[in-house]
Symmetry: C2
Subunit: 333 residues, 2 copies
Amino acid sequence: MNIYDVSEHAGVSIATVSRVLNGNPNVSEKTREKVLKVMDELGYTPNVFARGLGLNTMKTIGIMCSDSSDPYLAGAIYYLERGLRAHGYDAILCCTGYDLDAKQKYFDLLRSKRVDAIILAGSKFVEMRAKDNAYIIEAASDLPIMLVNGFLEGENIYSTVCDDHAAVYGAASQLLSSGRRRILYVYTSYSYSGVNKLEGYKDALKSKGITPSDELIRQCPKDIEAARELLLSLHREGLEFDAVITSDDSLAVGAVKYAHIADISIPRVLSIIGYNNSLLARCTDPEITSIDSKVEALCTTTINTLMGVFSGVNVPSRTTIASDLIKRKTTNF
Amino acid sequence: MNIYDVSEHAGVSIATVSRVLNGNPNVSEKTREKVLKVMDELGYTPNVFARGLGLNTMKTIGIMCSDSSDPYLAGAIYYLERGLRAHGYDAILCCTGYDLDAKQKYFDLLRSKRVDAIILAGSKFVEMRAKDNAYIIEAASDLPIMLVNGFLEGENIYSTVCDDHAAVYGAASQLLSSGRRRILYVYTSYSYSGVNKLEGYKDALKSKGITPSDELIRQCPKDIEAARELLLSLHREGLEFDAVITSDDSLAVGAVKYAHIADISIPRVLSIIGYNNSLLARCTDPEITSIDSKVEALCTTTINTLMGVFSGVNVPSRTTIASDLIKRKTTNF
DNA sequence: TTGTACGCGTTATCAC
DNA sequence: GTGATAACGCGTACAA
C-alpha cells in the first residue's frame, strides 16, 4: 500500500497524490476529493521512513534526562512530550543516568538517529569543567540543543532556566525577616542550578550582614532517610539551626522527620523550606513550604523557543522564569 | 556523507561497506579494517531513514501511558526505556491522558509511525466495554501489543500483570487476623487492576465469613486532599472503620492526614495500607505499609517477552508477578 | 571475497 | 493543474 497504488486507483500520477497529501494548493478540488476518497478506501498511510529519507527529518525530538522516575523530571518529561506532540513532533526518551560517559554515549546515539533537536531536561547535563561540555557545544552546529533548567553558552544552544538564585535568596530573606538567624542549607549537588541556589542563600545572608558559615552548608544524597540522618547527627553534634532550606523536597521531608524524632516543633522552633513544590511537599504533617520551580512554564517556554528556532524566528538564547514560594505549614510567615 | 563516499575513499564497493557495517563475516580482515578506518576518518554515520525504508523498521517501540508524571507510571517508563535501550531499541513516549478518543488517536498515530510494537503502560488502557478495546485487538494483527499491568485477550497481545487480587486479599487477610473487623476500601477507578484489587478485598472478607458491605467500599479521585476529605466526611457521618486499604499510596497519605486531623491513633485505632510502595509511602509519619506492585519486575518481564516475540520464541500471552507487602508503621503486624 | 544493479516510498523539479 | 522522473541512502539478490 503506497503512493503508487493510490495514484493508480485514482487515475492520477503519484505527484498529484503527493500534492494532495501535503496540502499543495495546485490541485483541483475535484481531483483532491477523488484522491482523498481512494486513500480512505484503501486505508493508505504514508510511509514515514520514505518521507524521512527525502526530507531528512522525521519530526522527532530527543529528550534526555538522567532519571525519568524522579518526580521533578517526570513532570518535565510530561510537559515536554505534550508540548512537542501539540506541534506534531514525536519525543524519543532517553534516560542516561548520571555518568558523563553514558550521557555522551546516549547523546551521540540520539544524534545518529537524526533527531531534529535534543532537549536536555534537568540541571545535570552541564558539567563544572568546560571541556566536559565540549561535546554539546560541538553538536549544536548540527542541531538545536535545548536546556531545561540548565545554562550553557554556545551557538544554537538555548537555555530556559528558573531563577534559582532569586528563589532561594527570597526564601532565605523571608526566614531572616521572620527572626530566624541560623539557617541550615542542605543541597544535593553542584549542578548549574545547585550552585545558583547556594549563591542565593549566601547572598541573602550577606545582605543582612551575616557571614555564611560553612558548618551551616551541607551536602546530602537526594534521599529522605539520608537527610533525616544528617540532621539528626548535626543535632547530636550540638550544631544549632532554627531553619532549613533544602535544594529538593525529598530532603525537606527528611527534615520534617528529623524534627519529629528530635521532638522539635515546626515551625515554632524550626522552619523548613523545600524545593520543587512536588507531591512530596504535600505528604507530610505539617505540609512543607516549598519553592515552585515552575516546571510547566519552563517546559512550554522551551518548546515555544524550539518552534521559534525551527521557523527561523529570532529567539533569546536564554530565558529566565521567576519562581514562586508556596507557603504551607513549615514556616510561620 | 553516505555509504558511497565511504566506498569511494576506501576503494571498495558500497556492498562491502554495507557488509562491514552489518558485521557480515564475508569480508577479509584487511578490507574490514580499511573500511572502518575510512568511516572513522570521515565521521560517517549510517542514515537511519534509508535503513528504515529498506528494512521497514527503525527499531523503535511506542510507549503509551496516561500520565508520565504519575509516580507509578514514571517508574514504569524509566524501567521500560532502559530495558528497551539495552536491547538496542528506541522508545517513543506518548502521554495520552484518560480520554478514550485521545487514546485511540495516539494509538493510531504511533502505528502510522511504524513502531515495531506498542507498550501500553498502566491499567488504564483496557476499557470495561469490549467494543472499546476492539481497536487494540485489531492493531495487534500488525504489531505486538504489550500490556503492563493490564490484561486483554487476543492474538499477538501480551500481558504482564501484578497479582493484584492476591495482594489485596493477603493484605486484608492480615488485617482481619490482627483483629480488624471493619476495613474500609478506597479505590480510584474500575480498571482491570482496580477490579482485581476490589475482588481481592471482598474475597478476603468472605473467606472469614464477613459479607462485604457497600458502605465500606468507596470511590475517590486519586488525590491526597480528596481522600482526606472523604474519610473526614465518612467519620462525621458516623461510619465506623478500624482499617483502610487504598488502591494507591496517595489515597493512603490522605488517610494518614485524616487520622491526624481526627486525632485517631495509627495503627492502634486505625490501620492503613497503601498500594504501589511509592516514595509517598515513606513521606508520612508514621510511614505507610504498602503493597509493592513490583514495577521493575513487571517492566523487565514485559521487555523480555517482547524480545522473545521479536525473535520468534514461544512466549506466554500472560505473565503474573507476585506482589510484596512492605510493612511499615501504619499497621501493627 | 567482492561488485553491480535494483527496490524501498516519498518529495521536488522540471516540462507540459 | 498535472505528469514524468530524478534524487534520498541503504540492504541485498545475484553475478563475477
